[in-house]
Amino acid sequence: MLETYLPMLFIFVIALTIGAVMFFGGQLIGPKNPTPEKMMPFECGNDSQGTAGVRLNVKFYLTAILFVVFDIEVVFIYPWAALFKSLGWTGFATMLAFIAALLIALAYCWKKGALEWES
């Protein structure tokens, strides 16, 4: 039973060793010459501004929630697309009805102003 996990243990130990060697090796033998630019948190392209704990506008929340809900519906479209031929016209009609319902929901969000960024 337990020997099943022996390879796992080996991988775990090897991974830990490699990580530890690289981390502490760099600290021990690497040159240390700090400048203000080097001490800045890395951010691609721009100089970073402000702290990481900045508050985000609540607008992001609404957009994110709408995105999640609409996005997740793709989970039902993928299997249908994979079996498109064998499901035939019945499957096509069903999927049309499903997408029509989604469209109505989208129209509702749009009309209610949930998609407006500037207001």
Binding site: A101, I104, A105, A107, Y108, K111, K112
Partner: protein, 513 residues
């Protein structure tokens, strides 16, 4: 074939289409300038149109009820095409009867909301699409013959109701929604874990297949049997939460009190009816095995305990409330207890299923009526919530007091109202099933219950309002009044001539093997 399916499912389809159309009508229609709040702060398209949208929603739901009646008369068994929807949706007489009750309860709640939202200037016409979507979920739940359908339908119903509870932008309303949402999702997760274990133990997700597989697992003491027992416990807990049986009722008084009153009415009638329907089907079809329905080794003693606890605790606590709305919440818990007695009786009495359906119908009309009368007794700026608010209302508005009294008498089970026959047939089924102790407990509880219903009537007719207190002035609303008239006619009709409905309820069974 296609015609059979479309005609058979027409109540469900009409309400679903109506919900989508109403959603568009709410968003794209022209706001009514006269109905806008004087501050004009909400410039929403649905603003000031609660009345007309409520009328639309009520019409859709009453059409749904009429179509259920049509399907009933045509006989779901004669519509052979409906076999296609099995095992996902089982469209039998049981389902159609429940659909009628659900549409009726939903329609009455929409009429009440049409008056209530306008009177209290709540610019939330989303109420009506939400009620319709929830009703679609509730109907699918009553019909569900498969675990996946059951779960999706349950969530469709619940998500709409969570939003309905939190519709008002007041601390009480959003607190009620928060509590209901958290506990509701927790209970759904417990039930779902039970469903997953059932799938694991049997390899099936349709209730009939699960029933056969459990019978095959049989008397064994092996891990399979233990897994089925754990699943049974989890599913029963989830369902007990939805019907708000003690000790899974903690959310009920808070959610019912904090929600806008039409939403409370909807929760009390539709959610409970659908939950009882699915409870009966799951227990009798999936857990209908001889061993699991026996008193020694199955669910009957568990449900009997829940029934006794619900009736006793709710009735004792209800009498001590100062808020009538909260009292009605406890009363709905007590009524869940009476219906649970009938659920236990299904193990030995074939008439018990019909008695549950008839009971739920009488409960729906009486409860929707009682909440409607409570809405009618208040107006802008002063809702009637406490006993004091109702003091002496009979002098100020005799019709409202009369209607309220009728519905309370029906809830208390006084003849010749609908509630009397509802209780009578439940207890008759219990006696048939030789559940004498449960019957006696139920009868005693009905007597205790009468106390707090009558107390409201005493306040309305015999007390004077305290000097200097703000008086709750009854509102004037054609919507609320028409809902009350419909409910009152049904309460009296079911009380005076229960026979036809009873015969119908008696043949609406879930068809256990």
């Amino acid at each position: 074939m296609t015609f059979d399916v479309v005609y058979g499912l027409s109540p469900l389809l009409v309400v679903a289409l109506g919900a989508l159309l109403l959603m568009l009508a709410e968003a794209f229609g022209k706001p009514n300038p006269q109905g806008l709040a004087p501050t004009g702060e909400v410039s929403d398209a649905g603003a000031g149109r609660a009345g007309e949208l409520g009328m639309g929603a009520a019409v859709v739901l009453f059409v749904g009820a009429a179509l259920s009646l049509g399907v009933w008369l045509a006989g779901p068994d004669n519509l052979v095409g409906l076999e296609l929807t099995r095992p996902y949706l089982i469209w039998d007489r049981f389902t159609v009867f429940v659909c009628f009750t659900l549409c009726l309860g939903g329609g009455l709640s929409c009429l009440l909301a049409g008056g209530y939202l306008t009177e209290h200037e709540i610019d939330r016409a989303e109420f009506f699409p939400l009620v319709l979507f929830s009703t679609v979920g509730a109907m699918a739940l009553a019909a569900a013959g498969e675990l996946l359908t059951l779960f999706v339908a349950l969530e469709t119903m619940s998500l709409g109701v969570y939003a309905l509870v939190g519709l008002r932008r007041t601390p009480r309303s959003s607190e009620a929604a928060l509590k209901y949402f958290l506990l509701g999702s927790f209970a759904a997760a417990l039930m779902l874990f039970g469903a997953a274990l059932l799938y694991g133990a049997t390899g099936r997700t349709d209730l009939a297949g699960i029933g056969q597989a459990i019978a095959a697992i049989g008397q064994g003491e092996g891990p399979g049997a233990a897994q089925v027992l754990i699943a049974l416990v989890l599913v029963v807990v989830g369902l007990a939460f939805k019907v708000s049986a003690v000790p899974f009722h903690m959310w009920t008084p808070d959610a019912y009190e904090g929600a806008p009153t039409p939403a409370t009415s909807y929760m009390a009638v539709a959610v409970k009816t659908a939950a009882f329907a699915v409870m009966v089907r799951v227990l009798l079809i999936a857990f209908g095995d001889e061993r699991l329905t026996s008193w020694a080794s199955g669910w009957p003693p568990v449900l009997a305990t829940l029934a006794v606890a619900s009736m006793t605790v709710a009735n004792l606590v209800a009498g001590r409330q100062s808020s009538v709305k909260r009292m009605l919440a406890y009363s709905s818990i007590a009524h869940a207890g009476y219906a649970l007695v009938a659920v236990v009786a299904t193990i030995r009495s074939p008439a018990a299923e019909g008695s549950i359906l008839f009971y739920l119908l009488t409960y729906t009309v009486s409860t929707a009526g009682a909440f409607g009368a409570l809405i009618l007794c208040g107006s802008r700026g002063k809702e009637a919530v406490s006993y004091e608010d109702l003091a002496g209302i009979a002098k100020r508005h005799p019709a409202a007091a009369m209607a309220f009294s009728l519905f309370l008498l029906s809830l208390a089970g006084v003849p010749p109202t609908a509630g009397f026959f509802g209780k009578l047939y439940v207890f008759q089924a219990a006696i048939d099933a030789e559940l004498y102790v449960l019957t006696v407990v139920g009868l005693l509880n009905s007597l205790v219950g009468a106390y707090y219903y009558l107390r409201v009537i005493v306040f309305m007719y015999m007390r004077e309002p305290a000097p200097g207190a703000t008086l709750a002035v009854p509102m004037r609303s054609g919507y609320v009044a028409s809902a009350l008239v419909i409910a009152a006619v049904l309460v009296i009709a079911l009380g005076v001539l229960p026979n036809v409905t009873l015969e119908w309820a008696a043949i609406a069974t879930v068809g256990r093997s």
